[in-house]
């Protein structure tokens, strides 16, 4: 069993790997990494193909390398993987009706946030602002902050007894 596993590994991984490195094909390796980072390792907890050492991941990464070598574009490879494993394999979900909110949500949130901010600021400058604290109020605040609370200065509702 073990031996068998290694033979598969040798077949799928080591030979193509050795070949590609022998050719010094750094550009190809980079493309493989880029595609692999977009794909989910289906047998791992939450890990991309690029990061995973799992057998299936290594196998799939070789598939990616093989296809890229044969002249497929990165998009083709992602397409192939989606056909085989469904949208779940893509870490960048495709844009379709069910994912519209996912992709446009942040933009909508931003617009809503900015609009709310703008309206708020405009309304604010229209409304007369609260009067700034008087000197006496400031001093009282300072006393409250810097001294241990004096039970006589407050009634039970926390309001000052006399202003």
């Amino acid at each position: 069993m073990e031996m068998h596993k290694y033979m598969i590994l040798l077949y799928f991984f080591v030979f193509p790997c050795a070949l590609s490195h022998a050719a010094g094909d750094a550009a190809l390796e980079q493309r493989v990494q880029r595609v692999a980072a977009e794909l989910r390792c289906l047998v791992c907890q939450n890990q991309s193909l690029a990061d995973s050492h799992a057998e299936l991941a290594v196998d799939l990464k070789n598939k990616v390398r093989e296809q890229l070598e044969r002249g497929a574009s990165e998009k083709d490879v992602l397409q192939f993987m989606t056909e085989r494993y469904g949208d779940f394999v893509l870490y960048r979900p495709p844009l379709k009706t069910t994912t519209l909110l996912l992709w446009f949500g942040p933009g909508l949130l931003l617009l809503a946030g900015l609009a709310a901010l703008f309206l708020r600021l405009r309304r604010r400058s229209a409304v007369a602002a609260e009067p700034v604290l008087t000197a006496a109020e400031r001093a009282r605040a300072a006393t409250l902050l810097d001294s241990s609370s004096d039970p006589n200065s407050l009634n039970h509702h926390g309001e000052p007894k006399a202003r």
Binding site: A18, H53, R92, E130, A136, T143, S147, S148, H156, G158
Partner: protein, 660 residues
């Protein structure tokens, strides 16, 4: 016997929590002083009993009491002592106990360091914290009791997950929970302010140091978690946008917005209701994070559906806490005034804009995290939302926020002028642009991403220097040293935290743009070259650890023929759970890490080896440490400490003012 004591202590803690969560609140509303007086002793007693319970569970772990189900599930006789202690929080039940321990610790800290606060505020704050505690203690006692017995006892335990058998496990969760749970104090202050109707600058000043402290712990906790993942998971990533990570990151983002908003409320009396809302949201996200992680909903929606007891409990708790506080907010917040006036262009507006960006970023992370769960639950298909999505969205939202970081501190309160700001910042901007164009060239390759990252980082640093410089110029003291000394600690804290963000951005930019990695087959004697370093595999040995067996590689790293380091990556098989663990070997450096991990064996005395060169990766965590230190510096600011003289002076001033 000991587990029963622990159980009993938890029940007593619950009774005290109920007392703490009801009587002081009613007392504060009705003005019954003795009831309010209960808050402090109840809080302290509750801490003592939870600590006893925690001690009992630890005792059971240390003594390998496998008649306790939780111990049997998470420990083993061969587990080293430090991990048997850390295993206390290695599973669901114990994590909750740690959560409650942290909550009661914070509560006790508030009860001890609140002698300057009016009694009714203290009673309300402690009362709210007591109610939160009631929720969690009930959750633990009714659905997740760590002291449940296993009869007959197991011969040996099922061991702690090997991933968790690491020093990181000892420090990361307590630190993270300190931060998570710390936001409950900010929340309690906000609710107390709503209840009392006294929402003012004073309130902001009371709640600010607590919030900053919680934020500091959360920053460190997340950084530790990221660093741990980096060296323990064995493939060299440092952030995966995993739901569990997002669960801790969302409260952090919201907390960051909160501490900025609190600054405005304290200094200018503005944004009051907004600050309260942020405090509610920050804590709500902490609870949501707990729900996501603890209900099992992340691993699979269906796992949640088959055993929904725990999930439903937290969900109900979440609805009560968030719903209740939002209703209270809607009911009371309109009584809050607007605060100090400010112009559309002013530091207040910049901070508000930054707040919007942070909240939108939080919302987007939340959307991305929950989206797959909702789609799956609605039967609309399974999708994965991973790093490519989050990187795209998050960077787009954060870049403007980072830009604003440079402008905000320099803008005047109340009213600022854009042309004036532009004049004052033009040199900072020029330095950032030139640096951003040139720096990537020193790394040998120009990329747009690197330029953009450097632009943001340099901009933050250069504008911080400009801010400090113009502030020093306005300081009347003579001599640079004297001028530097007169600035407050919270000011330096702010600058340090901002520079921390810049350092973090440099780390991320360098790693993302210039990291190099190779997966190669190495037999003993063979070498691989990467980034100017040669890694030669010298030996492969089998080694035996206390509870695992491992294959250990010996690699000699040289650069231009000179020896750099000998590295020992391992592949471990743990005896009990039989899973393989990759123990990477890392050579840490100021400007780069070398990272070597063993993949799989391939035939005759050869292994797949992954070698990586990660430039400036440690700056990522260094930046976080600087941010946390900045927070610490702010908390240590003089104005938060009791100065006896200042107090006497204030009392005298109040007397004079009242007389006049």
């Amino acid at each position: 016997m000991v587990p029963e004591l622990g159980q009993f202590a938890l029940i007593l803690a619950l009774i005290l929590a109920v007392a703490q969560g009801t009587l002081p609140l009613i007392g504060a509303a009705r003005g019954v002083a003795p009831w309010m007086g209960l808050a402090r002793p109840a809080a302290q007693g509750q801490f003592v009993f939870v600590a006893i319970a925690f001690g009992c569970l630890t005792y059971s772990f240390v003594n390998n009491d496998f008649s306790v189900l939780y111990v049997a599930s998470n420990s083993n006789t061969t587990l080293p002592l430090q991990y048997r202690i850390a295993a206390v929080w290695g599973g669901h039940e114990g994590s909750l106990l740690l959560w409650v321990l942290m909550l009661t610790l914070w509560t006790m800290a508030v009860s001890v360091f609140s002698d300057r606060l009016p009694d009714d505020i203290v009673s309300r704050v402690l009362g709210v914290l007591g109610l939160i505690s009631v929720g969690f203690l009930c959750f633990m006692l009714f659905t997740s009791n760590p002291f449940d017995r296993l009869l007959p006892a197991a011969m040996d335990g099922r061991d702690l997950n090997p991933l968790l058998q690491d020093p990181g496990m000892v420090f990361h969760p307590p630190m993270l929970y300190m931060g998570y749970v710390g936001f409950s104090v900010a929340f309690a202050f906000a609710i107390a302010a709503l209840l009392s109707g006294r929402l003012d600058a004073t309130w902001a000043r009371w709640s600010r140091p607590w919030t900053t402290l919680a934020w500091m712990f959360l920053t460190l906790g997340i950084a530790l978690g990221s660093w741990w993942a980096y060296y323990e998971l064995g493939w060299g990533g440092w952030w995966f946008w995993d739901p569990v990570e997002n669960a801790s990151f969302m409260p952090w983002l919201m907390g960051t917005a909160l501490i900025h908003s609190l600054a405005v409320t304290e200094k200018r009396g503005a944004f009051k209701s907004w600050t309260v809302l942020l405090a509610i949201f920050a804590f709500a996200l902490s609870l949501l994070g707990t729900f996501l992680v603890r209900s099992g909903v992340i691993t699979s929606v269906h796992a949640f559906a088959t055993d929904p007891k725990r999930g439903i409990f937290i969900l109900a708790f979440l609805v009560i806490v968030i719903g209740g506080s939002l209703i209270l907010f809607a009911w009371r917040a309109h009584r809050v005034g607007l605060g100090g006036r400010f112009d559309r262009v002013s530091r207040e507006s910049f901070l508000l804009l930054n707040n919007v960006m942070l909240v939108v970023a939080t919302g987007s992370v939340l959307l991305g995290t929950l989206y797959p769960l909702f789609l799956d639950a609605l039967g609309l298909g399974k999708i994965s939302v991973g790093p490519p999505y989050f990187d795209t969205v998050f960077v787009a939202l954060m870049a403007p926020a980072l830009f604003l970081m440079g402008v905000g501190p320099l803008a005047r309160w109340k009213q600022a002028s854009l042309p004036e700001l532009a004049t004052r910042l033009k040199w900072a901007f020029a330095v950032a642009v030139v640096g951003a164009l040139l720096l990537p060239l020193t790394m040998g390759k120009w990329t747009p991403l690197a330029t953009f990252g450097f632009l943001l980082a340099l901009w933050i640093v250069a504008s911080s220097v400009t801010t400090l410089w113009s502030r020093l110029k306005q300081t009347p003291a003579a001599g640079l040293g004297a001028k530097l000394r007169t600035q407050s600690r919270s000011y330096y804290g702010m600058l340090l935290a901002h520079v921390g963000v810049a350092v973090f951005v440099v780390g991320v930019t360098m790693v993302k743009s210039y990291e190099a990695e190779k997966d190669v087959r190495l037999a003993v004697g063979e070498a691989v070259e990467l980034g100017g370093y040669a890694f030669r595999l010298d030996a492969l040995n089998e080694v035996t650890g206390p509870n695992y067996r491992a294959m250990r590689g010996t690699l000699t790293v040289t650069r231009d023929g000179a020896a750099v380091r000998t590295m020992y990556p391992e592949k471990r098989i743990y005896n009990v759970q039989k899973n393989a663990m990759t123990e990477a070997a890392i050579d840490t450096g100021f400007t780069r890490d070398l990272y070597v991990s063993l993949g799989e064996p391939v035939g005759n005395n050869a292994w797949l080896v992954r070698v990586q060169v990660k430039p400036f990766v440690d700056w990522i965590w260094g930046g976080c440490v600087l941010m946390a230190l900045g927070g610490l510096l702010s908390v240590l600011d003089r104005r938060y400490r009791v100065a006896v003289r200042a107090r006497a002076e204030a009392v005298a001033a109040a007397g004079t003012a009242a007389a006049g």
